[in-house]
Symmetry: C2
């Protein structure tokens, strides 16, 4: 029997057993994982050193990018945040088996809408070895089974973190062992993407090209985003100092983040005044300014920004809806009517007024955890918290009730 198929089949079985898990046992497991990771800090950082050394060679040979190399490194700070993340998830409210609502639809018939796990998650990620404990924590908390595929560049780190967690999980006799799984080879990914009978949701965490490849090659729903082409539109009624401050923060605070700004649109009335100040400010902050582009769908991911004059707010909105990626877009204005118009008509997960696009983040939104940021138009959009890993089922309680009594008019539904 094929290995991945077997893993997926067992994960699906585990996902049913996982429905039994209580909040208390899930939280105890998360606390044990938190402690085990802390206790094994040296081993984990040593394993990461091996990966980093290997990556150094690949970097020198030009086989990986500097940004991937950087994301691979697990230093003391990242390790602390990673471990703390597991603890944070244990403190969150359990998102499954929550009664969303309950109502009597007829005499003696009660309908309940109740949250439940999605089933089996497939997570495909690159570099960042801190993703593995984060995603496993989120899966446990939501009672989902998970199949993880990490990048080969982080194999040593991923393996040791996974094994530490798996050992803890296996010490619990009432938690299904196949609930968490790690696979390795690139060929496995292709097969994983074909198993729509077993896997209910794919979440890619990594480069645009990884996400694009996955979206092109699976029938399984994918939660995530590839491009993050965010805009700031400086309205004619903008407060200049707010505009400058926000543009610099949105571009420079972390240029490679998906929620950093790529294109700034400036109302034409500001052409000979504010525009020059903005350019000066960008240049002062080492930002390269591109104007008169052919293609406005560029995600730089570094300190480069596209600048364009907009005839009016309508042109700005049209530009954003045409070239944007539906991620996060902002208007700078003191005019409430324009702000509301922008926020109504820009078709993006996040529409902002007078605030940096860099706020698009599950933690900043107060979700306590972030599964990722989605530019999908169904299920979950924008920063996704735990509830993005849940769905619901309807429970209907009767007492021998039949539809025929209602069709014949003997009984009636409540209005």
């Amino acid at each position: 029997m094929n290995n991945i198929l077997q893993i997926a089949g067992l994960a699906k079985e585990a996902s049913v057993s996982a429905l039994h898990l209580t909040t208390e046992i899930k939280n105890r497991l998360l606390t044990d994982i938190y402690n085990a990771l802390k206790e094994n800090k040296e081993r984990i950082l040593n394993a990461n050193l091996k990966d980093v050394k290997n990556a150094e060679r690949l970097l020198n040979e030009g086989k990986i990018t500097l940004s991937l190399y950087k994301r691979l490194i697990l230093d003391e700070n990242k390790f602390r945040d990673m471990v703390q993340g597991v603890n944070d998830v244990s403190l969150l409210e359990d998102p499954v088996n929550k009664v969303m609502w309950s109502k009597d639809i007829a005499e003696g018939i009660t309908l309940k809408k109740i949250t439940c796990p999605i089933g089996v998650l497939g997570i495909i990620f690159e570099a960042r070895p801190d993703v593995i404990s984060q995603i496993i924590s989120l899966s446990i908390k939501t009672s989902n089974a998970v199949i993880l595929k990490g990048g080969s560049e982080a194999e040593e780190t991923n393996k040791i973190i996974f094994n530490i967690i798996k050992n803890i999980l296996d010490s619990y006799s009432d938690i299904p062992s196949d609930m968490i799984n790690l696979i390795h080879s690139r060929e496995d990914v292709k097969e994983l993407l074909s198993l729509d009978k077993y896997i209910n949701l794919i979440i890619p965490r990594g480069s645009n090209s990884l996400v694009k490849y996955i979206k092109e090659n699976t029938k399984i729903p994918v939660l995530g985003h590839s491009d993050g082409i965010c805009h700031i539109y400086i309205d004619e009624f903008a407060d200049e100092s707010k505009a400058l401050k926000i543009c610099i923060d949105a571009k420079c605070q972390y240029p490679s983040a998906c929620n950093s700004v790529e294109t700034v649109l400036v109302h034409k009335s500001l052409k000979d005044t504010f525009l020059n100040k903005l350019k000066t400010e960008f240049i002062k902050n080492d930002v390269k300014v591109n104007e008169n582009l052919e293609d406005w769908s560029i995600e730089y991911g570094d300190k480069t920004v596209s600048l364009k004059i907009a005839e009016n707010i309508d042109e700005a909105i049209m530009h954003i809806n045409k070239y944007g990626s539906g991620h996060t877009d902002c208007i700078i204005t003191e005019n409430d009517e324009n702000a509301e118009k922008f926020m109504l008509l820009v078709d993006s997960a996040g529409v902002y007024k007078n605030i940096s696009t860099r706020f698009a983040d599950g933690f900043r939104y107060g979700f306590g955890a972030e599964v990722g940021i989605s530019t999908n138009k169904i299920h979950a959009r924008g920063p996704v918290g735990l509830e993005g890993l849940t769905i619901y089922k309807y429970r209907l309680y009767g007492n021998g009730d039949i539809v025929n009594d209602f069709v014949t008019g003997k009984r009636h539904f409540y209005k």
Copy 2:
């Protein structure tokens, strides 16, 4: 320029303009459509007669099924329900621009989660000409643009209903004309399914084979279900009279419905007692009983039922999760513990206790309208009401706020 591509592009533009629509104008439009359909009853029924005559010929030539032929017929009763449906939708609460929640995430920064339309819907349906006014009403109420493709067998009826509605819509200068679209040829469907840049959600309404074809041939999310293999498990603690009544209702009340039962599982302790009564009752109601099958994933859609002995509740649950379609499954029992176990572990959109599977329906659930029944594990599951055609966006209101102030510890998010 290609016709379908052009239609899809214009529909996408219309979907942005549609964001302006107020509840009041949408309801006025729906009322006008309701009146126009009523006024044009004769024309619509005459057009339907043409389709029915043509279908009669196809039926005699064996080119279409009897059930498709029957679904095509628009009689006085169906017409009345169809028109009433438009009025019902006008009376429902507007599901878009609703503030789901609003909170301050830091001093002076307010985050709002607000419902909004999905964008452009693609609806592919067969026979039933009453679908067209229903889907257009739901699209208008949710401010979505829609591209409809009806079956060729109902072309005359679809055309006239569509044109009546379109004429009304065009008389409103502030409603985008490209918000509703009807396409005709089979080749168009193939192209429609490829336009994932323009179309956000596909909803198929028709035979299993239609739904399967669509799911296999598009990257656009599909909302719906193909199979409806529903189960009833008669537990050892079942009340026999409830069990008999529910089994007959679930099989006979409307055998071709997707929520009618296909397989009845009976606890082995009832083998020599209740089982015989059940068989007798089925036979009395002209139901053919199949036992000892090789394949338990059969949807009969007529008065045939599969019957199986289950060793215990666990085997029954495993059987349902293996062979079912995740639609609706029921346990008959007076034992609450078994009922809760069944409802927790059966991974279906609807899990029922002591009530006929035929209750799985948006109207019976009190949703006021039904988009369809979904067996998806994301976005919307079970009978889907208006909210299945909506998603949300996050609006973030600030006053010049930058992330850097929070990263440097100058400012703090609320806990």
